[in-house]
């Protein structure tokens, strides 16, 4: 198979590192070679952050470039728009509908673009936009939004749902396992029902 490219984007502190580790564990469980590239340090302080997960028979570069991502998982709408150029033609964008104002918007130096979901859809992009935090909240804790996002993408991430679910179980802390698995199931079922 060709190398599968998954990007996880969001705002520093939203939990993208856990999401990338879950995908890495799933790829390993499925017997693939995998590389993960993370961002640490200053941008974790509320900046725009991106994590790359690549898996397949053989993986060289740990990073994903413009026009290469099969799937982008986005924790925040503006970040989905920012990283959209990294999606390959025919790829899938899965985004939470949460909006977090960056400092230039807060200070009034820039505006948060309106109606991004429709604008992205109008470009012909496969986009799944859901309130991931609300799904996580319904599962028991809004912080499980990252796992809910993975659930929403279960059908395009290239793994059997059981493998993905097992990776969630393996990677989340024991005390949060139940809520995260519920968030994963609820999100995956919601997408299946469509």
């Amino acid at each position: 198979m060709a190398t599968k490219n998954i990007m996880i984007v969001g705002v520093g502190g939203q939990g993208s590192l856990l999401a990338s580790r879950i995908l890495g564990a799933a790829a390993t469980a499925a017997g693939y070679a995998v590389k993960i590239s993370e961002v640490h340090g200053m941008s974790q302080r509320g900046g725009s952050v991106v994590t790359y997960v690549r898996y397949g028979e053989e993986v060289n570069s740990p990073v994903i470039c413009e026009g290469e991502a099969d799937v982008i998982l986005s924790f925040e709408l503006l970040e989905a728009a920012r990283w959209l150029p990294f999606l390959r033609p025919g790829g899938t964008l899965i985004t939470a509908t949460q909006e977090i104002n960056p400092m230039p918007v807060i200070t009034g130096a820039a505006a948060y673009p309106e109606d991004l979901v429709h604008k992205i859809r109008d470009l012909g992009v496969n986009i799944i936009a859901e309130d991931a935090a609300a799904i996580a909240q319904a599962a028991g804790n809004g912080r499980a939004a990252n796992v809910a996002l993975i659930g929403l993408g279960a059908h395009v991430l290239g793994f059997d749902t059981d493998v993905l679910r097992g990776a969630v179980e393996e990677c989340v802390p024991a005390k949060a396992k139940e809520i995260n698995l519920r968030a994963f199931d609820m999100a995956a079922d919601r997408q299946k029902a469509k």
Binding site: T28, H40, G41, M42, G47, P62, P85, R88, M103, I106
Partner: protein
């Protein structure tokens, strides 16, 4: 057994398997996790030193003492440790010694983009560079063998992408590595002119032997494919090159990047039609090739600045552009910001309000330079806030209008000597120490002031006030304030700036992200009371924005992010902010 590990974690695993006993480091992105992961092994003694010079000297001492030792740091940390680095090339090692240095091409979290390979050349030390997590472990282990074989410290060079990329790593047993016997050998270890003169030729001969070894080392490998293009590369660039050329090129993939083998490079160049050198930052390999008279493509088409990627290589070397879509709207940038509840926010609000010149330093608080706080005039390197302020004030003569701002960990790193300089030379500068009880930016590392070690063991209490007093600051000019209350801070700052004596204002409040720091219920704006004056917007809190409603544009708190620090409440002249505690 294989495990997915970050590059840094794999280096730590390499330390474990190589039988390393001693690790002394100073945190710095992207190198920090090497020492954190090393500390998880019971068999390895691991510590944070106050700075990189101390860390490397401690590691050199451990090596002299016969144990395998490691010191890790970021690229700018190696500048701090450069003094022992150059001399230890002369002394050689006892137990194997590896110095890990992580460069940050693209400056994800750094103040410059220097290329540490120049240190290997300058100090005449061998340097290895892995390209992924698996090699991080393998190269680390081999570096210890070679360090002892050639009696020299090795430098392990990493870059952000290698340090922070994860891949599968094969786990093996720890090598039994008994402590070597210690015997006095002043001719080799006392570096005064008479001895050093005899050691310098040894260094030169060793470098020649290493260059011979470079021809046969398993660290370097040739992969022959199509011979129209021959790529000479190292580190993560190898993987970008493979993405772009695949089997349509041949590769000389270097793992030992100093010294280089003239013979190997000549042979490889002769076996291909044209040579492309692919290396991030400076053209170090390229310059070597050119010195041999080998024509290469390199920095004439590839950039000296920033990170490389497969996309960049496709564009610059093959002229290929990627296909993608994007929205027409301008996407506002999202720069990093001080966190909700950050104790530094009140400090920078106050410094800006007072119109002071602020000599800044390295840490989370460098974000005090960003709008709307915009409260920092200069940032250079660790510790420079205090020393540079001294020069600034001496030349301008108005010390009542300026302060230095430095974090607790940075003060212990290299702020103390700057403070001594102020006192010794009759300065009257005011130094603000942001004591948030942790090393923040690099992700919460302990330091000499936190009472805990890298291994999370209790450490003796070192009192910041006593240090300042001991250095010569008068007790009445060492003030401790809680930055959560800017009015009080302003009053204290005014008094100390007016004083005709050096002074230290310690702003003490733990980092809002520290475990155990209480998060209070979020605040909420009473829209009837809000008069849209935007006084609350001056503190640059990511939780507050002006939101339009039927009653006009009023302040609103994002209650999912707010930790209830209450700074906004103190800004509001109309009492519009109130805690949601009662709910």
């Amino acid at each position: 057994m294989k495990k997915i590990m970050l590059g840094n974690e794999a280096v730590a695993r390499g330390l474990y398997e190589a039988g390393v006993r001693f690790v002394s480091s100073y945190p710095g992105t992207p190198s920090t996790e090497i020492s954190e992961f090393a500390a998880k092994y019971d068999e390895i003694y691991a510590e944070w030193a106050p700075n990189e010079k101390v860390a490397l000297e401690a590691a050199i001492g451990a090596s002299f003492g016969g144990g395998r030792a490691f010191s890790g740091m970021k690229h700018v940390g190696l500048n701090v440790a450069a003094d022992p680095l150059f001399v230890t090339a002369y002394t050689g090692v006892g137990g194997g010694l590896v110095i890990g240095v992580a460069d940050d091409p693209g400056m994800h979290s750094s103040q410059n983009e220097q290329d540490s390979r120049h240190y290997a050349i300058g100090a005449k030390l061998p340097m290895v560079e892995p390209s992924d997590a698996a090699e991080c472990k393998e190269f680390t282990k081999l570096a210890y063998e070679l360090s002892e074989q050639f009696d020299t410290p090795f430098i392990l060079r990493l870059t952000t992408r290698v340090s922070h990329s994860g891949g599968a790593v094969e786990l093996e047993e720890r090598r039994a590595c008994p402590l070597k016997e210690y015997t006095k050998d002043p001719a080799k270890r006392v570096m005064m002119p008479g001895n050093a003169k005899r050691r310098h030729p040894v260094v030169e001969q060793r470098l020649e032997k290493l260059a011979e070894y470079a021809y046969e080392t398993p660290l370097n490998r040739v992969e022959m494919g199509d011979t129209s293009v021959g790529v000479i590369t190292a580190g993560n660039c190898y993987h970008y090159a493979k993405e772009v050329y695949g089997k349509n090129a041949s590769y000389l993939k270097l793992g030992l990047i100093h010294p280089l083998s003239e013979k190997q490079i000549r042979e490889f160049a002769a076996s291909v039609d044209s040579v492309v050198v692919i290396e991030e930052l400076d053209g170090v390999i390229e310059a070597f090739c050119r010195s041999l008279g080998i024509p290469v493509t390199g920095k004439d088409v590839l950039p000296l600045c920033g990170e490389y990627s497969q996309e960049l290589l496709r564009e610059k070397l093959l002229g290929e552009e990627p296909a993608f879509v994007s929205v027409a709207d301008e996407i506002p940038v999202r720069p990093p910001v001080l966190c909700p509840g950050c104790p530094h926010r009140g400090v920078f609000y106050t410094l800006k309000k007072m119109g002071l010149t602020v000599s800044g330093d390295i840490g989370c608080y460098t974000l005090g330079a960003v709008a709307p706080l915009s409260a920092m005039d200069t940032t250079l390197c660790m510790g420079a806030s205090i020393s540079a302020l001294h020069g600034f004030n001496k030349v301008r003569g108005d010390a009542e209008k300026s302060v230095a701002v430095i974090g607790d960990s940075t003060f212990m790193h290299s702020g103390m000597t700057g403070l001594v300089n102020i006192i010794y030379n009759g300065g009257t500068s005011t130094v603000v120490i942001l004591d948030n009880r942790i090393t923040g930016m690099t992700g919460h590392q302990q330091n000499p002031l936190t009472g805990l070690t890298l291994k999370n063991q209790p450490a003796p209490y070192i009192c910041l006030e006593d240090i300042c007093a001991g250095l010569g600051v008068a007790r009445e000019h060492i003030r401790v304030v809680d930055p959560a209350y800017p009015a009080e801070l302003e009053k204290v700052l005014k008094e100390e700036l007016a004083a005709d004596a050096p002074s230290v204002v310690i702003c003490r409040r733990p980092c809002a992200l520290l475990k155990g720091v209480e998060k209070k219920p979020p605040l909420r704006v009473d829209r009837e009371k809000c008069r849209s004056c935007k006084a609350c917007m001056k503190i640059g809190c990511p939780c507050i924005s002006m939101v339009e409603g039927a009653d006009g544009v009023k302040a609103k708190v994002d209650e999912t992010m707010c930790v209830g620090c209450g700074l906004c409440e103190q800004m509001c002249p109309f009492d519009a902010f109130a805690s949601t505690r009662a709910e």
